[in-house]
């Protein structure tokens, strides 16, 4: 067990492509950190650099205090779980799990003891003498986990370990992974493109985009205070609704109507001379049926919308409606989000934008009928369309400090090396083409 420190790590390929750019991240001993982002964002490359399967072009990687940049994978004492499990097909489950120990020269009894212990944890006892081809997908996944567990390594590295499982099994194994990690207390880096996995599994989540670390923080921090458009759109399901907004004085003009901004938000945006075009982000749960709002009604404003589709999940209702706008705003980040997940569409001039609102199941909104909805103005987030920066989030120190969750705060000198939210977003500017 050990802490892992990435210090301005960069991966540049011979053709000049930078898969990971200047990434700094501190992972505490025993911490469970998720690297999340759309495909091609460099999260897997980052993980493979920690494993030693990719060379580090620049920067420093420390595992347990030792610089390991030039060490071969076998000398780093980390275990990896691959997306396709990479079980050795010619070996039994027992041999698969004991392979690393045998290579280390452990004697037979020790290997057997450890393999059986891991098999008990993973409920694989009756499959020990089978070949991987005779196992189901979930069982194979557990063998891959077992192969990592028996070694008692400094860290677990998991590269989308659940993506080959069907939905039900994935949820089951997600809990399993979490349980095992808590039980063993081994430092874990987990790569996924699934934001649900990221939100549910980790102590801290690191969101990446085009090789750059966007924000590091606890799941709730990322959800409530995303530093930029990308993080806001990526985290959360259904995704945050985006729409063009014009701030004039203390009001913001949205396609759904004018909303008076609370004092707190106005202060954070700063002084606005005349009017300013921004992108507004509203989470589905910031909407509510007016009839069910009650006292909070003063905090927001109401509007009418033609409900097109109403999805009932029992505990909640999702109301889909469209808005039209005459404003036009484009953002590179949102385009990427839209390509990746179909989320984050901002309607531009004359186009219709789809909005999802989460309503209380007691709402009497009906499909095809107009309903009166309420939006919580204090929950509106406003983003700079040029660099995607969140203007409404609380401008506190480095995002990676992670509030009370992370022990990072105790070491201020370390915290300085963390990616600062502002600068991370700022560096994307060339691509946004301001």
């Amino acid at each position: 067990m050990a802490d892992i420190v990435l210090d301005n790590v960069t991966k540049r390929y011979p053709d000049g492509f930078e898969a990971v750019r200047d990434m700094s991240l501190q992972i505490q001993d025993g911490e469970f950190v998720i690297l999340v982002g759309p495909s091609g964002c460099g999260k897997s490359t980052a993980l493979r650099m920690v494993a030693g399967l990719e060379d580090i072009t620049e920067g420093q990687l420390k595992i347990g205090g030792d610089v390991v940049n030039d060490r071969a994978p076998k000398d780093r004492d980390v275990a990896m779980v691959f997306q396709n499990y990479a079980l050795y097909p010619h070996m039994t489950v027992r041999d698969n799990m004991g392979f690393a120990l045998k290579l280390k020269g452990a004697d037979k009894e020790e290997v057997n003891g450890k393999v059986e212990e891991a098999a008990r944890i993973l409920d694989l006892m009756q499959h020990l003498d089978r070949k991987p081809s005779q196992l189901s997908g979930g069982q194979r996944q557990r063998v891959a986990m077992g192969r990592a567990i028996v070694r008692d390594p400094k860290a677990f590295l998991m590269d989308e370990p659940l993506s080959n499982l069907d939905a039900k099994l994935r949820v089951q194994m997600r809990t399993e992974v979490s349980r095992i990690q808590q039980r063993l207390g081994t430092t874990t880096i987990y790569v996924t493109h699934d934001q649900t996995e990221a939100m549910t599994l980790g102590d801290r989540v690191a969101v990446m985009r085009t090789g750059l670390l966007q924000q590091v923080g606890s799941p709730m921090e990322l959800y409530n205070d995303p530093v930029n458009l990308f993080v806001a759109g990526f985290i959360g399901s259904p995704a945050m609704n985006f729409m063009p907004a014009t701030v004039e004085g203390d009001r913001v003009k949205l396609p759904i109507g004018d909303v008076r901004l609370p004092q707190q938000l106005r202060e954070r945006i700063g002084r606005v001379d005349g009017s300013r075009s921004l992108i507004a982000g509203i989470r589905p749960e910031s909407f509510e049926d007016v009839a069910l709002v009650g006292e909070a009604r003063d905090r927001g404003s109401t509007f009418r919308a033609q409900i097109e589709v109403l999805e009932s999940l029992g505990s909640e209702l999702y109301a889909h409606f469209t808005v039209t706008t005459d404003q036009s705003i484009e953002s590179q980040e949102l385009q990427e989000l839209a390509e990746d997940a179909g989320a984050g569409e901002v309607p531009s001039s004359g186009e219709e934008g789809r909005i999802v609102a989460r309503l209380d199941p007691n709402s009497r909104a009906e499909e095809g009928r107009e309903a009166e909805l309420w939006v919580d103005a204090s929950q509106i987030q406003l983003f700079d369309p040029d660099d995607g920066r969140n203007l409404t989030t609380e401008q506190k120190g480095p995002a990676a400090t992670g509030g009370g969750q992370s022990p990072m705060g105790r070491e201020p000198d370390r915290a300085e090396q963390e990616t600062e939210p502002g600068s991370a977003a700022g560096r994307t500017e060339p691509t946004t083409g301001g």
Binding site: M80, F82, N84, N164
Partner: protein
């Protein structure tokens, strides 16, 4: 599937025809080898030898060193050629399938070019060179050309198999603490076993069956392998034909090939069905 009687008759006839065509030389050879020399010209029946087996030809070929010594030569030469060729080819193929280096395609096409050289075109010069450097009529003198001529095919076969093996397996082995060579030996080679055996069979058969090199590059039983040795078989007297003995020897040299294919075929099938990586 339902077949009409006519269809069934047709297929039955076709199968018998093909089997007959394929097996006639073999049956004839076995039949001849079991016929004593005296009956060769008197008993013309195709199956005579099989119905009246007589092992005198086999006794004859195993009694002296005329056949046994070439048999040993053949086994050693083919065996060593196979071993070296597969070892070299496995390493070369591994590099070709895993590494990206300049001149990779050049090496592959160069290997192919070597395979296309007709042996007859170089056997003359080899004869002279071998005599000069003392490799003439030695095992090494045969092993070297066999190995060289079979390497390209072995490399091609093996690199195709290596390419099928997912990278992750090797990386998993490396993360598990294996050195690159350990990963190669304990994970890649066992997984490519079907390919290794296929290549081994091809190399072995080439070396075992070769006549040209063995005929030109040897002069005595010192290194002469079975195929040219058969050509030098003589009867008891110049009036006696050694056909029976040749047939018996031919049967004997066929056996190792058949056994090898049977053994390795099981490995090949077992390897191919051993199981996928993911589900």
């Amino acid at each position: 599937m339902q077949h009409t009687a006519r269809e069934r008759t047709f297929w039955l006839l076709a199968i018998v025809l093909v089997l007959f065509y394929a097996l006639v030389p073999v049956i004839w050879m076995i039949s001849l080898s079991l016929k004593p020399a005296a009956k060769l010209s008197t008993e013309r029946g195709f199956f005579y030898g099989i119905f009246h087996p007589d092992t005198s030809n086999y006794d004859a070929i195993f009694s002296g060193s005329v056949f046994t010594r070439p048999l040993v030569n053949s086994l050693v030469v083919a065996g060593i050629s196979t071993l070296i060729a597969i070892m070299l080819a496995a390493m070369a193929a591994y590099a070709l399938s895993r590494l990206d280096f300049p001149g990779k395609t050049l090496i592959l096409s160069g290997a192919l070019a070597v395979a296309m050289f007709p042996p007859i075109s170089i056997v003359g010069s080899l004869f002279n060179i071998w005599r000069d450097i003392g490799l003439y009529d030695t095992w090494a003198g045969l092993i070297i050309p066999y190995m060289t001529f079979t390497l390209p095919l072995a490399i091609y076969t093996l690199s195709a198999f290596f390419r099928e093996i997912p990278w992750e397996l090797e990386q998993a082995a490396q993360v598990d603490g294996a050195t690159p060579f350990q990963a190669f030996r304990k994970v890649i080679v066992p997984l490519a076993a079907p390919g290794v055996f296929t290549a081994a069979i091809l190399v072995f058969i080439f070396a075992w069956n070769d006549f040209i090199f063995a005929n030109v590059l040897t002069s005595t039983n010192n290194a002469r392998t079975v195929p040219p040795a058969l050509a030098f078989f003589t009867g008891e007297s110049q009036f006696e034909q050694p056909i029976g003995a040749i047939s018996a020897a031919a049967v004997v040299v066929t056996v190792p090939i058949v056994i090898m294919v049977l053994i390795f075929q099981r490995r090949i099938v077992a390897g191919l069905t051993a199981g996928a990586v993911k589900g």
